[in-house]
Amino acid sequence: MASMDKKELICICCPIGCVITVTSHEDGTLDVKGNSCKRGEEYANKELTAPTRIVTTTVRVRGASRPVVPVKTKCDIPKDKVMECIKALKEIEVTPPIRLGETIVANVADTGVDIVATKAVE
């Protein structure tokens, strides 16, 4: 019998927070149990191999009624790139008008993922 490694994860894909049990087999395959949707399986696989996160933060705005505009990564990026992404966004300033969904930074921290505005600024 091949040695198995069992790990319990809490899925972060949605607010349900399924408790997922992942069993890693010696041949490298993973057994995922406890998830209530497909995203949970995907999450568990990623979390044990290459964890990713969506980053939400703000970027400085010049000349608008509010000094910052909220932004996010268009999709999840490698977890170890989160701080680098934040740092890159600290160094920029944007000017209105900004459309909701507009690209603020392309390919942030060389992740291949764009930063987009999550609110319109007049």
């Binding site: 927070g17 969506i54 000094p67 909220p70």
Partner: protein, 425 residues
């Protein structure tokens, strides 16, 4: 400005917006939203993190994006609203409600409404309400206030942070402050479990190595001008600090995330009965309060953890308000009282008029502590009609159950519906 409307909605946050859209779509014509902030969207504007809208839009949105979806609908449907307008009084005389408000442009004015939807949201429990002794130094904020400073006003409240309370806003802010360069030293939670969503403990605390100390609380705040540190101690099962467990933690900022309280001053002024458990109005199946024609939804009714459920609830309140304003609702004949048992703290609604249910009735509730491998049981009088196995029930997560009208009609002498948590006996 129209001084006479069919439906007046107090508050332009997620609940008010969804109620307005639903009321308009179900045929109400003259609707007016009054909002005290300078933009619509309410608390969503400062909730820049993702995780909103999975139920409603089947995609994961940030707070401002979620708000935009409803603001667009309000604009598209041409529903009027007034910003920077504060409602100061609501009164009812016969079938008419008088809503008095103030803004810069119009001064004090009164609007006559057939129906009113209360959608004022909630407030954070303050330091005063927590009875933490000590001076009043700068550096103590409710987590939501800090969230507004950071996410909307672009200001950082401090550099070294302790968070008291593990509600979702506290967890979210622990991560947010970390991303903005602060050192978050600890999240202390008085209860033996967190009040926040599990996913937030993972992605906001564990991801950043922030310790969560359960059964711990802040017993002293050091500093006269500015916070210099806090003393944290372990709490026993009666939530009292255990002598000898004190630990001093230096910090310049203390964030409080210790619960939310529905904001019902206006409701009380109007004479609406409140439920002491939720601190929100007692409502019936139509989400109508004890004052006829006055409806409530969202966090003013009971504190939610998911905005999707706020929208759903508010949609129902909006439709019922429209039906009331239109007139001709079925007469109330078969009234049923909802009761809770075995760990269920409250239900919304707490009264059902069977004739006024469309096809099914959503009943939302919370439990009082952590339950594992239990049954959620619903009794019609003394008969079990629903028995669902639940792996885990948490106080921090609102539950809901749907009751079918056809099932209720099978019990002509139905007087009470009991929602209970039971162990297999």
């Amino acid at each position: 400005m129209d001084k006479r409307v069919d439906i007046l909605i107090v508050g332009g946050g997620p609940a008010g917006l969804a109620a307005a859209v639903a009321a308009k779509k179900s045929g109400a014509d003259r609707i007016l939203i009054l909002e005290r902030d300078e933009e619509l969207g309410g608390i969503l504007n400062q909730c820049i993190h993702n995780g909103f809208g999975l139920h409603t839009f089947k995609e994961e949105l940030t707070g401002p994006e979620y708000a935009s979806r409803y603001i667009w609908q309000v604009e598209e449907l041409g529903i009027p609203y007034l910003l920077q307008t504060i409602v100061i009084d609501i009164s009812a005389s016969e079938a008419v409600k008088l809503v008095t408000a103030i803004n810069k442009e119009n001064g004090i004015f009164t609007i006559e409404a057939k129906a009113v939807v209360l959608a004022m949201g909630c407030r954070e429990r303050s330091r005063g309400a927590l009875n933490i002794p000590g001076y009043r130094p700068a550096g103590i904020y409710s987590a939501g206030t800090a969230q507004r400073y950071v996410n909307m006003e672009g200001r950082m409240p401090g550099k070294e942070v302790v968070v008291l309370g593990s509600g979702d806003i506290g967890l979210i802010m622990a991560r947010r402050m970390t991303l903005e360069g602060a050192k978050v030293k600890m999240v202390a939670e008085l209860m033996p479990y967190s009040g926040g969503l599990k996913r937030n403990i993972v992605q906001c605390l564990e991801d950043y190595g922030i310790p969560l100390k359960l059964s711990h609380t802040v017993i002293d705040i050091d500093g006269r001008e500015r916070v210099k540190g806090v003393t944290v101690a372990e709490a026993d099962e009666n939530r009292k600090p255990i002598p000898g467990t004190e630990e001093y933690i230096s910090c310049d900022t203390l964030l409080l995330s210790c619960g939310l309280i529905p904001e019902n001053e206006l409701s009380v002024g109007l004479g609406v009965s409140l439920n002491p458990v939720t601190a929100g109005p007692v409502v019936n199946e139509s989400l109508e309060t004890s004052v006829e024609g006055v409806f409530a939804c969202g966090n003013v009714l009971h504190v939610h953890d998911l905005v999707d459920y706020v929208s759903e609830e508010a949609c129902s309140a909006g439709e019922h308000a429209a039906a009331y304003a239109r007139g001709g609702r079925p007469a109330e004949e078969h009234k049923v009282t909802l009761k809770c048992a075995g760990g269920v703290r409250y239900t919304v609604p707490s009264l059902i008029c069977v004739e006024r249910i469309d096809k099914e009735q959503v009943v939302r509730f919370r439990v009082g502590s952590v339950y594992k491998d239990v049954f959620l049981t619903v009794y019609y009088n003394n008969t079990v009609v629903i028995k669902q196995k639940k792996r885990v029930l948490l106080p921090g997560e609102m539950e809901q159950i749907k009751l079918k009208k056809v099932e209720m009609e099978k019990f002509p002498d139905l007087k009470t519906i009991t929602v209970a948590i039971e162990r297999e006996g």
